[in-house]
Amino acid sequence: MRHLLRRIGFYLVALWASATLNFLIPRLAPGNPAQTLMARLHGRLTPQAQHALEILFGINHDPLWSQYLQYLNNLLHGNLGVSITYFPTPVSEVIAQEIPWTLMLVGIALVISFVLGTLLGVIVAWRRGSRLDAILSPLFTFLSAIPYFWLALILLYVLGFLLNWFPINGGYDTDNTVPGLTPDFILSAILHGVLPAFTIVISSIAGWLLGMRNAMITTLSEDYVLMAEAKGLSSRRVMLVYAARNAILPNITSFALSLGFVVSGALLTEIVFSYPGIGYALLEAVTNLDYALLQGIFLIIAIAVLAANFLADLLYVALDPRVRLERN
C-alpha cells in the first residue's frame, strides 16, 4: 500500500512536470513566436479568448508566477484554449473529435502486433538454433531499425499508388459517405485503415518478438522447465504453460506501457497517410503555428502515457507473486 501511494505521488509529480514544461517552453524559447501570432489574430478574437491566449503564451504583463497560477487554473477547468487552425473551436473539442480515430487505428494494430509478435517469439525461442530462428531473428532486427514513416511511404507507394489496392489518404471516403453507423461508412473506414494499421504492425512487431525471445530463452534454462520435460509432458504444454507463461511478464508490462503510446505512437504514420487523428492534428498545429492546439495535444499524450505507466505498475503487482510477497 505504501508502495502504491509512493507511485501515485510520483505520477502526480510527473504530471505537474509535464504541465509546467508545457507552460515554460513557449516562454523560454528565444524569439517569441506568440507575439507575431497575436498580431495576426488581432480583431478576430473575443476579449475573453484573447485574454486566455495571452495567459497561455505569457504575453500579458502579470508576473510569471501569477500567469502560472492562471494557467494551472485553466487546466484544472479543462480549458485548453482556442484552436487557430479550426478557429473558433476550443482545443478540447478538436482533440475529442480526432482521438477516436487514433484510438481505433493504433489500438487494433497494437493488439494484433502484440499477439502475433509474442507468439512468434515463443516459437522462435523454442526452436532456437533452427533455420526458422536463423532467418526470423535477424529479419526482425532489421525491421526494428526501419524508420516507420519511411516504411509507410514505401507501402503507400507500392500497395496504394502502383497497385491501387488501397486508398492513399484520409480516414474514409469523404465524397460518397457520411460519418455514421452505416455499412458504407464502416467499410470505407476499414479499407482506409488497413494500410496504416499494417505499417504499425510491421514496424512494432519486432520489439515484441525479440523481447519475448530473450525472456523465453532465459526461462527455458530454468530447472522447472527441465523437470517438466523430464516428466514427459508434451512439448506444447512445456512451451506454453511452463516456459511462455513465466516469460511473458516483461512483455505484458511493455504492453501496458504501449497503451499510453496508443495516443502518440502513430504520429508520423498518420501524417504520411493523411489519416485523421492526433498525429495529423499535431502536424496541422505545427504547420499553422497553432500553439494552443500543440500544447493541448502534448498534454493529452503525456496524461495517456502516465496513466499507462500506472496501469503497468498495477499489473506487475497483480501478476507477479514475487513482487507482492516482497511488498507484504
Partner: protein, 313 residues
C-alpha cells in the same frame, strides 16, 4: 637472461588480451556484421564528400530522372543528383547521430553513476528527474520543443534529442552502480582516501563499460531516427542536405505521386541498414555478456529428446 623476458611479458600479455577482445568481437557473427556495416557508413561519412567534391544542392538540367549511368540514383524535381545528396547527407546524419548519442550517453553516465554512488537526497533528486523524463513522451515533446525554438538547425534538433534521450540509460546505470557501491574494491579505494569522482570514474565506471556501450548504440539509433523524423516534419534546417531533409523535400514535392521512388528509397535504405548494423552489435554484445542467449547449448538437449532417451545427465 631472465630480465629481458620479464620485460617482454606485460606487453605480450596486453597484446594477448587485445587479441582475445578482438576474437570475442569477431567470433560473434552479429557483432562482426554490425561492425562492418558501421565501418562502411563511417568511411562514407569521412571520405564520401571528399571524393565527390560537389555542391549537393546544385541544380541541374535533368529533372526527375530515374537512375541512369549519368545519375546513379536519379535526380530530384530541381535536377539535384540524389546519389550525391545521399553521400553528403551520410556525413551530416552519421556525425549527428554519433555526437548526439555520445552527449546523451555522457549525461546518463554522470547522472546514473552520481545518483547510484552518492545515494541520499542526491539520488532522490536525480532519479526523480530521470524517471520524470522517462515517462514524458519523447517524440511529441521533441516536436513541441522544436516548433517553439525559433532557430532551426542541427543544434536545436540535437538539443531536443539529447533532452529526450538520456533518461533510460541513467536509470539502468543507477541500478548497476547501486549494486556495485558496496563491493570490496570500492570500499578499499574509499578506505585508501580516493576522492569520490575518482572512485566513480576510475573504479566503478570501467566495470559498467558493456552497459554503457549498449546504451550508446541504442541512443545513436534513437538519435538518427528522431533526427530524421523531425527533419521530415520540416523542423530542421531544410537547406542542409541530410537523410531527413531529403525526405522532407521528397514529401513536399509529392515524389510519391510523381512515382519518383528513387527519391525517397535511398535515404531510408541507408537509415535501416545503419540502424540494423547498430542493433546487431547491440544484440551481439548482449549474447557475449549473457551466455544464456547464445545458441550453442540448446540443440544438444533437443538431440537427446529425439533419440528417445530420458534426460539424465
Amino acid at each position: 637472461m631472465s630480465i629481458p623476458s620479464l620485460q617482454v611479458d606485460p606487453s605480450s600479455f596486453q597484446l594477448q588480451r587485445l587479441r582475445d577482445f578482438w576474437r570475442l568481437l569477431t567470433i560473434n557473427r552479429k557483432v562482426s556484421v554490425g561492425l562492418w556495416i558501421l565501418a562502411f557508413f563511417v568511411l562514407v561519412a569521412i571520405f564520401g564528400p571528399i571524393i565527390f567534391h560537389q555542391d549537393a544542392n546544385a541544380l541541374g538540367p535533368d529533372i526527375l530522372q530515374p537512375p541512369s549511368p549519368a545519375h546513379w540514383l536519379g535526380t530530384t524535381q530541381t535536377g539535384q543528383d540524389i546519389f550525391l545528396q545521399v553521400v553528403v547527407g551520410t556525413r551530416v546524419s552519421v556525425v549527428f547521430g554519433l555526437v548526439t548519442g555520445l552527449v546523451a550517453t555522457i549525461i546518463s553516465v554522470v547522472v546514473g553513476l552520481a545518483g547510484g554512488y552518492f545515494g541520499g537526497w542526491i539520488d532522490e533528486v536525480l532519479s526523480l528527474l530521470s524517471n520524470v523524463f522517462l515517462v514524458l513522451p519523447a517524440l511529441p515533446l521533441a516536436i513541441v520543443l522544436a516548433t517553439f525554438v525559433a532557430y532551426k538547425g542541427p543544434l536545436t534538433i540535437g538539443f531536443v534529442t539529447v533532452i529526450t534521450g538520456w533518461s533510460w540509460g541513467a536509470r539502468v546505470l543507477r541500478a548497476q552502480t547501486l549494486s556495485m557501491r558496496s563491493r570490496d574494491f570500492v570500499e578499499a579505494s574509499r578506505a585508501s582516501g580516493e576522492t569520490s569522482w575518482r572512485i566513480i570514474f576510475y573504479e566503478i565506471f570501467p566495470n559498467e563499460i558493456a552497459i554503457v556501450a549498449a546504451e550508446l548504440l541504442g541512443t545513436v539509433i534513437y538519435a538518427i531516427l528522431a533526427e530524421t523524423g523531425l527533419e521530415y516534419l520540416g523542423l530542421g534546417d531544410v537547406t542542409t542536405v541530410s537523410w531527413g531533409t531529403m525526405f522532407y523535400w521528397a514529401g513536399n514535392n509529392d515524389a510519391l505521386l510523381l512515382g519518383a521512388w528513387w527519391w525517397f528509397l535511398p535515404p531510408g535504405v541507408c537509415i535501416s541498414l545503419l540502424g540494423a548494423g547498430l542493433a546487431f552489435i547491440n544484440f551481439g554484445i548482449d549474447e557475449i555478456a549473457n551466455p544464456r542467449l547464445r545458441k550453442e547449448e540448446r540443440p544438444k538437449l533437443a538431440k537427446f529428446k529425439k533419440s528417445g532417451k530420458a534426460v539424465e545427465a
